[in-house]
Amino acid sequence: MFDLIQYLVDGLAVGSVYALIALGYSMVFGVLQLVNFAHGELFMVGAYFVMYAISLGLPWPVALGLGMCFVGLFAVAMERLCYKPLRGAGKLAPLITAVGLSLLLQNLVQAILGPNPQSYPARVPEGKLSQFFGQYLPDPSQLQIPHLPDGLFDWNDLVIRHRDLMIFTIAVFVTLGLELFLRKTRPGRGIRALALQPNAAKLVGVPFDFTISMTFFIGAALAVVAGLLQGMADNQVTPYMGISSGLKAFAAAVLGGIGVIPGALLGGLVLGIAERLLVGYDLSTYKDGAAFFILIIVLLLRPQGLLGKARMVKV
């Protein structure tokens, strides 16, 4: 019995990271009906950026802030250059472009920072870049690497890591913050208007392009937060972390109801917990399929997702 509770709690942290990434998928799909398959890569780039920024000696809030701005603006550029020209060219073209972008980012990071997993303090592989980087590197022994708290709530039968609770709390606050932003602020309401009724939104003066760019920016920024948390929790980043977490986060978004913000959080948590349950009951080899199995069930029984609203298709 205690085992079940243990797995439920264990799943919260993993699920929270999925949730933070899922928010980006959800928002972009809400306004553009586009699944940005490159979003997972934004998570990866964010994780790398933050790890390297901290390894250069920057305090983590600065690294995080810079990362959010950098990756956020990068996402906006991506949207302007690659998705905007394809508006109206059907569903496939932007999808393929997204895949191309995803490949591009993975290989760029691999080429510049090396294909192997990196841990704190991050290093750059031998080459011209490492010399540039090298001059700014602080003395490793002086480097204060931020850690997530490593305490435990230890009741022998139930062990909860402080860091898991912290990640969960952050995710909850971020989701609440985002939901508040979308409901109470003007730009936020603009995003919601666009998602509901693009033409009416344009009529009442919602700035179309700017709002879409803002959506991409916010989604990317949240993914960077996820990247920071995962990088610190695992002490590892790899160029492939975007594909593995990204696809599952996408499933989480659909599961919770794509386009619905609390749905992304719920979906992420459900997924995280499901994975932990499988590992706990010694079925860990089925872990990767779990996300999609749940996804299919939901799609067949309730296509709009757990918290989504059903769409009526007029004939």
Binding site: D10, P117, D157
Partner: protein, 384 residues
């Protein structure tokens, strides 16, 4: 003139394009090996989560070939990156055999990858010699496949006996990488030997994880609850590093035992302070006082700016061993090279004296090392 039908036109266009592509591919022609020169294929994980193994092996191999200098036979190596996956290994071998026409192949590192590569090599009758794959089944029934390292039935037994005799362990748990033939083979040989030496391993303390996992809390909590004397983790450094770190975080106090999959400098980077105080079986230790080992360590360090690990040492031995075998064969014909490898006796490598037995496996000693926060330290040698 009548136009050929649309379909015909298109088939012709495609065929022409394909032909053009082949010409494009041939732009950089790989020369046929000259006499006195033998083309040797090398398949290694140069990227991916076992990359340090591949890179170290290649560094060791290159050092050996450099030292051999201009003497014949000259080994011309063609290196392919397997990305550390079975699929990548199979593809790499296919390319080396079909396109580069190598006479013999060295590699891979991970047993699952070598197994994947060996079918193609065996059916094409090209000898494949692995310097680092220890799973017993690799050479079974495949007479073109051989190795210069010890096998897991030996390695598992070594660690089991060490646990019982030196660490006085009576109970143990095993954390096995279910994606790896290497890990699974070691699980079996350790379990068998540990129980035969009088220890107990409960069924539910043989716990699996996957190479894709990053969080091992669920598995570690189970181990913690049972509090065995020893925990055997025959996995690869990327996962083991994370496991050690998380185990320390969870205040798990059992002694950890490892195998040659741990042998990478990255283990210490990932695990941090948690890396210290464990026991690992391997092929080589950089602080071994033997003169030849120290010479090798010095030369390697001068060239690559870091201490060599077991993989580097094995790569080095592979280079010299292969040269000796080819010299003995007196030809660059694959089947003659195969025969020569299979009959090598008492080759003096820096990872030990190597004699190839009738199963084409190497009979040689294992080394047990301990870990500090930063490196491996030689503890003892165990002879077969």
């Amino acid at each position: 003139m009548t136009m050929p039908s649309k379909t015909t036109r298109r088939v012709v266009v495609t065929a022409l394009s394909a032909a053009l592509c082949s010409l494009g591919l041939a732009v950089s022609m790989v020369a046929r090996a000259a006499v006195g020169e033998v083309k040797v294929g090398v398949i290694l994980p140069l990227t991916g989560d076992k990359a340090t193994f591949g890179q170290e092996s290649l560094n060791g191999l290159k050092l050996a070939l450099e030292k051999a200098g201009k003497e014949t036979p000259q080994l011309k190596i063609q290196v392919e990156d397997t990305q550390g996956t079975p699929a990548g290994s199979a593809a790499a071998v296919n390319k080396l055999i079909a396109t580069d026409k190598v006479a013999v192949i060295i590699g891979e590192v991970a047993s699952s990858n070598t197994i994947a590569a060996s079918t193609a090599a065996q059916s094409a009758k090209i000898p494949l010699m692995t310097h680092a794959s220890t799973n017993d089944t690799i050479t079974l029934g495949k007479d073109f496949i051989s190795r210069i390292c010890f096998v897991d039935s030996f390695q598992g037994a070594v660690m089991a006996k060490f646990a019982v005799t030196n660490l006085k362990a009576k109970t143990a748990a095993i954390l096995v990488d279910s994606d790896s033939d290497y890990s699974r083979g070691l699980r079996d040989s350790f379990k068998q030997a540990f129980i035969a030496a009088g220890g107990t391993i409960k069924e539910d303390l043989v716990i699996s994880y996957s190479q894709k996992d990053r969080d091992f809390k669920t598995q570690l909590i189970k181990v913690r609850k049972a509090a065995p004397d020893a925990v055997f983790i025959p996995g690869y450094y990327t996962q083991v590093g994370a496991i050690l770190r998380q185990a320390k975080e969870l205040k798990l106090n059992s002694k950890f035992l490892g195998t040659d999959g741990w042998d990478s400098p990255d283990l210490f980077k990932i695990a941090g302070a948690a890396a210290a105080g464990h026991y690992v079986s391997s092929h080589f230790a950089a602080d071994d006082t033997d003169n030849r080992v120290q010479d090798f360590v010095r030369e390697y360090k001068a060239r690559n700016k870091e201490n060599p690990g077991a993989m580097a040492a094995l790569g080095y031995d592979a280079g010299f061993f292969m040269r000796a075998a080819i010299k003995k064969a007196g030809s660059n014909e694959p089947s003659k090279i195969r025969d020569a490898i299979a009959s090598m006796k008492n080759f003096d490598g820096i990872t030990g004296t190597i004699t190839i037995d009738k199963n084409r496996n190497a009979v040689k000693p294992a080394v047990i090392v301990t870990t500090t926060e930063k490196e491996f330290k030689f503890l003892t040698r165990v002879n077969p």
